[in-house]
């Protein structure tokens, strides 16, 4: 699998398909930190949500890199479809780790914050970037053309889901209480925002961890669903 990840990264670079999502993210971060000083935790919470959208875009472009016959050949070489798809998802994860590092380090290096980023705040913020990015990757895999045959269902479905997930807090407020359980189905892209914004940044124990754990569980369920569907639809 390690070599398939290397192959995919090498091919992704040569294809130049990385350029639209990555350049968009670089510009977004640059524009976001135009003024200073910025609040640390709140700023990182916002750039995590930006990365959530960008990671979905990165994942779509990585999964659609191989033409169908190449996909079949690589699945044979790597020893199965699960290994093939996991290698592709891992490639997307490696790319978003680099993007997370950029989003994390840019404001520190260019002194965009009013205060010092402590180890605790830094760790939580960095992990939050990764968690939300993995959520974006999992959703994009489910809406990729490997599962959705039509472009409208693939892009349209993904954009609708991303928008819906970002609007979840607003939807929760207007939803009648007996329907609130339905909200568990919506991707938890914003549930880590509230505990982060309310956190004083002193100790991790002062932070409600459930939203973070739920986001990880949700992503794993979606990836499992993607692997099952991708195998069935071949």
């Amino acid at each position: 699998m390690k070599n398939l990840i290397k192959y995919t990264l090498h091919d992704y670079i040569r294809s130049h398909k990385y350029f639209p999502p990555i350049s968009t993210f670089v510009i977004l971060i640059f524009v976001f930190y135009t003024y200073r000083p910025n609040p640390i935790i709140d700023s990182y919470a916002v750039t995590s949500v930006m990365l959530y959208i960008i990671s979905a875009w990165v994942c779509l472009s990585v999964l659609q890199l191989d033409p169908p016959v190449q996909r079949q050949l690589m699945a044979i070489h790597v020893g199965g479809w699960n290994r093939y798809y996991l290698a592709k998802l891992m490639t997307a994860v490696i790319i978003i780790i680099i993007l997370s590092a950029y989003a994390f380090l840019y404001p520190i290096v260019f002194n965009m914050f009013g205060g010092r980023v402590t180890f605790t705040i830094g760790l939580v913020s960095f992990v939050n970037h990764i968690i939300l990015a993995v959520l974006g990757i999992s959703l994009a895999s489910l809406f990729s053309k490997l599962i959705m045959r039509s472009t409208i269902n693939s892009f349209g479905g993904l954009i609708l889901t991303l928008v819906l997930s970002l609007a979840a807090l607003g939807i929760e407020r207007v939803f009648p209480s007996f329907l609130k359980n339905v909200l568990w189905v919506i991707p938890p892209a914003t549930i880590t925002q509230t505990p982060l914004v309310n956190w004083d940044g002193m100790y991790i124990s002062g932070l409600s961890l459930f939203p973070f754990i739920w986001t990880i569980i949700y992503s794993l369920i979606i990836i499992f669903l993607f692997l099952q569907l991708a195998k069935r639809l071949r």
Binding site: N3, Y7, D11, L73
Partner: protein, 294 residues
């Protein structure tokens, strides 16, 4: 008649490599393969023939594990069997040189670097591809892309090699090289499954032939490996004979034509040649025309 294919095509349980049981495949409610049962034994060379769009490639992809049958079962003797697959159309947009691509595929398959470093340059040389090592596969000719497609399947010396129309776009030298490699692989224990059109190149090496028609697989009666005759003719235009189905291959030597035909067809062909005012110089029985042509 799939059941019969199963009965007649199968070997003993000890040598069975893959077994297909009642395979059906449907695309958009259209049935492509119907109730196919087949046993593939080790070290066998099997040809699956049939017209365009009859489901040959689908059957090969199902055996390779790349597609799921709509119903039925595939049993592999060894679940971790090493499969090599040459697709009918190898992807055109590969952004690597042949060597880079083959190195990646060998590493992805888990091939030891020491073997890989020896076998890839050797195969590139055999298929005359080493001169294209500064170009990406996507910029190569159709035939050279097909050669890369063949090499990626054979570098790991697979237990089961599946070739879907492997001759498409290959020049005669590369065709002969492929034939030699197939013979070598068979000796080493590889089972080979292939489809092809309009060629007698594999005629001598095929053990069993199946035909797919209307989604149904039937076993063809054994190919009689008859001797092949070489007819040397003068004063005859190639265009007169090139469309004759009985002719296996044609070679031009100065103003003479060398025609290879099966012994059973030679009288019929000789009669036609004389009718066309061709002058027969000699008729000889040859062992295998493709070997003489090299």
């Amino acid at each position: 008649m799939n059941r019969e294919a199963d009965k007649t095509g199968g070997g003993s349980a000890v040598t069975m490599l893959v077994e297909l049981k009642d395979i059906d495949k449907t695309y958009d409610r259209k049935s492509v393969l119907k109730n196919i049962s087949l046993t593939i034994d080790t070290q066998e060379i099997i040809a699956i023939l049939g017209g365009n769009g009859v489901g040959k490639s689908t059957l090969l992809r199902i055996i390779a594990g790349m597609e799921r049958p709509s119903s039925g079962k595939i049993i592999f003797r060894n679940k971790k069997m090493n499969i090599g697959y040459v697709p009918e159309r190898f992807p055109k947009n590969i952004r690597f040189t042949p060597e880079e691509y083959l190195n990646y595929t060998a590493k992805i398959s888990g091939m030891p670097e020491s073997i890989m470093n020896k076998s890839i340059p050797d195969l590139l040389k055999r298929f005359k591809l080493e001169q294209f090592n500064n170009q990406w596969v996507m910029n190569l000719s159709k035939g050279n892309i097909q050669k890369v497609g063949i090499i990626q399947a054979i570098i790991k010396r697979p237990d089961l090699l599946i070739l879907d129309e492997p001759l498409s776009g290959l020049d005669s030298l590369a065709q002969q090289e492929l034939l030699e490699i197939i013979k070598e692989l068979k000796k080493e224990g590889t089972t080979i499954l292939l489809t092809y059109h309009e060629s007698n190149l594999f005629h001598k090496v095929i053990d069993t032939t199946y035909r797919v028609e209307n989604g149904v697989l039937t076993k063809e009666t054994d190919i009689v490996k008859e001797p092949i005759k070489l007819l040397e003719v003068e004063y005859l235009n190639e265009s007169h004979v090139e469309k004759w189905d009985e002719i296996i291959s044609i070679e031009r030597k100065k103003d003479k034509l060398l025609l290879y035909v099966q012994a059973k067809d030679s009288d019929k062909i000789l009669y036609r040649l004389l009718q066309l005012q061709g002058s027969i110089i000699r008729v000889v029985t040859v062992e295998a025309p493709e070997e003489d042509n090299r």
